[in-house]
């Protein structure tokens, strides 16, 4: 049985800069894997290669044993990989419910004609989609805000809404880019519960996170990047005691990596 996701020694080059240098790791089905490293280590670049926003120059990415390298982002989502963005990318002027419906989009079938003519099948599908999306909102605890404008939500709630939007795509693997970024302790605590609940639904989680306490608490496996190189991987205890990792982390812990 192969891994759910296999990143097979990918190399990504921007101009003359080697952003990722033969990075390879696997994500087993049902696990929670953390991707960590100092700023500029290439974590988000790895995510963007998986989601199809970037195409790596060398190497391959296999999802359920099938190559997804070079596939368009929307195709990758349809195949079962959903993501959230580091810099929140909600549709701020649209309602909370409509944001989740955006995630549901790829599982719906109504086309141009059934939409123009408002067919019974289209209406039934809409109803089901709305019901499902409200359930996802309930899952992250935002159901009472369904009518609000997404941009008006508190910061932590916006992050949770991104998670709900990703879950609405029926993913097998969900990729969270700094889900706790900008959250206070209380919000982080509820996020941990949400992540655990996601896994309990049988969805595999891959996340980038700076909050080390969070990472150590929930991840079964860690992958550590530094300057585009993979310097360690394994369970949290092993990684924490790795001398390379300790060195990489000294003195560098905040700032922002651009999407």
């Amino acid at each position: 049985m192969s891994s759910l996701l296999e990143v097979a020694s990918i190399t990504k080059i921007f101009g003359g800069l080697v952003a990722l240098n033969e990075v390879g790791f696997t994500v087993e089905k049902g696990s929670i894997v953390g991707l960590i490293g100092p700023n500029g280590a290439g974590k988000t670049t790895v995510f963007n290669c998986i989601t199809g926003n970037y195409v790596p120059e060398r190497g391959d990415i296999l999802f359920r044993g099938q190559s997804i390298k070079g596939k368009k982002p929307h195709t990758v989502v349809e195949m079962g990989i959903a993501r959230t963005f580091q810099s929140i990318r909600l549709f701020g002027k649209l309602s909370v419910l409509e944001n989740v419906l955006a995630g549901r989009h790829c599982r719906l079938k109504s086309g141009l004609f059934s939409s123009l003519f408002h067919t019974p099948a289209q209406r039934r599908e809409e109803e089901e989609a709305i019901e499902r999306c409200l359930e996802e909102l309930k899952f992250v605890g935002l159901e009472s805000h369904w009518e609000d404008e997404a941009g008006a939500l508190a910061y932590g709630s916006q992050r949770l809404l991104e998670v709900a939007r990703a879950l609405a795509t029926d993913p097998e693997l969900i990729i969270l880019d700094e889900p706790a970024g900008g959250m206070n302790d209380q919000e982080t605590a509820s996020l941990v519960d949400v992540i655990a609940a996601i896994r309990a639904r049988g969805i595999t989680v891959l996340l980038i996170e700076h909050d080390m306490r969070l990472v150590m608490r929930i991840c079964e496996k860690l992958v550590v990047l530094e300057h585009g190189n993979l310097i360690a991987q394994g369970d949290p205890a092993t990684v924490r005691s790795n001398p390379d990792v300790i060195e990489a982390y000294l003195g560098t812990d905040d700032g922002d990596e651009e999407y």
Binding site: T51, N53, K72, P73, H74, V77, E78, A82, R83, F85, R89, L90, F91, G92, K93, L94, S95, L97, E98, L101, A102, G103, H105, C106, L108, S110, G111, L112, S114, S115, L116, F117, H118, Q122, E125, E126, E127, A129, I130, E131, L134, E135, K138, E143, S144, W146, E147, E149, R165, A166, T169
Partner: protein
């Protein structure tokens, strides 16, 4: 009263006025209203592309021309009845849109705008040069026959008035359905943030292209009505300025369908009303536009949030479950 109610009543009042208007005004004003109706129809179709999907397309007159010429050619050369040519005019315009938009649809904002201006010029020049020997060069095509339906010949201004505004009514309804659907939402997601839309699983280039083709299809059908009304068409009627006017009507409208109607009346009707000012009327018109941009940069009537009646009941049920 909330905004939604005010708009509903305004829309209803406008509908009633439009339904009886020709009985109270002379032929000249009926003709002006036919012209407004045609622009409203074109602007409604452009609204799908520009207002809903946020694609900066300033070449809508090109698709209008393709539709008008398709009708004119089929009617004068092959004696097709006008109404039969309508779906073909739409298809021809949609096909042209598909072919020209496919390679450019990924362009962003102003870049796309420039290319679409190119499209309208290419179509106009092709028509002037009597392409395939069927467009009549710069003189255009004349001798288009009157439309006929169920033995009734549409001749008078008042007939055209109801034809054009009837078509507007149907378009309003269908585009309203479209807006309240998965398709309409997808266009909005793209308008707000196309990278996020793609990242959520929306096939961005597919939907952009579909919006383009649908808008062009509708403009092509509007072209049929134009041919039938004018009886003579020439390339000069489909110049860049026409595109700019349709574009401006949509921008001024704010993006809602009621806004498009109001905007079409202001844009096409106001210069007619101000005819008494003779030379200076465009000056006043320009001033009105400037004031508009200062006081209401978001447009006359931006769309209100969608209503999800089904969601309300469901959300209340969820809230009850929680409290128990």
């Amino acid at each position: 009263m909330n905004t939604r109610k005010v708009r509903f009543i305004t829309g209803l009042a406008l509908g009633i006025v439009l339904a009886v208007l020709p009985f109270f005004v002379n032929n000249y004003w009926t003709d002006v209203c036919v012209s407004i109706g045609l622009y409203a129809l074109l602007a409604l179709s452009l609204n799908v592309i520009l207002g809903q999907a946020g694609i900066f397309h300033m070449g809508h007159a090109a698709f209008y021309a393709v539709g008008a010429y398709t009708t004119a050619i089929l009617n004068t050369m092959f004696q097709w009845p006008i109404f039969w040519t309508m779906p073909l005019a739409g298809l021809a315009a949609g096909l042209v849109a598909l072919v020209v938009a496919r390679p450019i649809i990924h362009l962003r904002g102003d870049y796309l705008l420039i290319v679409t201006i190119g499209i309208v010029e290419i179509v106009r020049i092709a028509l002037v040069n009597d392409i395939f020997g069927i467009t009549g060069g710069s003189n255009g095509i004349f001798g288009i026959s009157r439309p006929q339906a169920f033995g009734f010949r549409i001749v008078k201004s008042i007939h055209f008035y109801y034809l054009v505004w009837g078509m507007c009514g149907i378009s309003l309804l269908l585009f309203h359905f479209l807006w309240n659907s998965r398709f309409g939402r997808a266009l909005n997601y793209i308008k707000h943030d196309d990278i996020a839309a793609e990242g959520c699983g929306v096939d961005v280039s597919h939907y952009k292209l579909m919006a383009f083709v649908l808008g062009a299809f509708w403009a092509g059908m509007a072209g049929t009505l134009y041919s039938a009304k004018m009886l003579t068409i020439a390339p000069a009627s489909f110049n860049f300025m026409e595109s700019v006017i349709i574009f401006a009507v949509v921008i001024l409208s704010g993006g809602s369908q009621l806004g498009v109607l109001v905007s079409a009346f202001l844009f096409i009707g106001l210069p007619e009303v101000m005819r008494g000012l003779t030379e200076s009327r465009m000056l006043f018109f320009g001033l009105a536009m400037m004031l508009m941009m200062v006081w209401r940069p978001q447009g006359i009537l931006p769309p209100l949030p969608r209503v999800y009646k089904k969601a309300l009941a469901r959300a209340q049920a969820l809230a009850r479950e929680k409290s128990e």
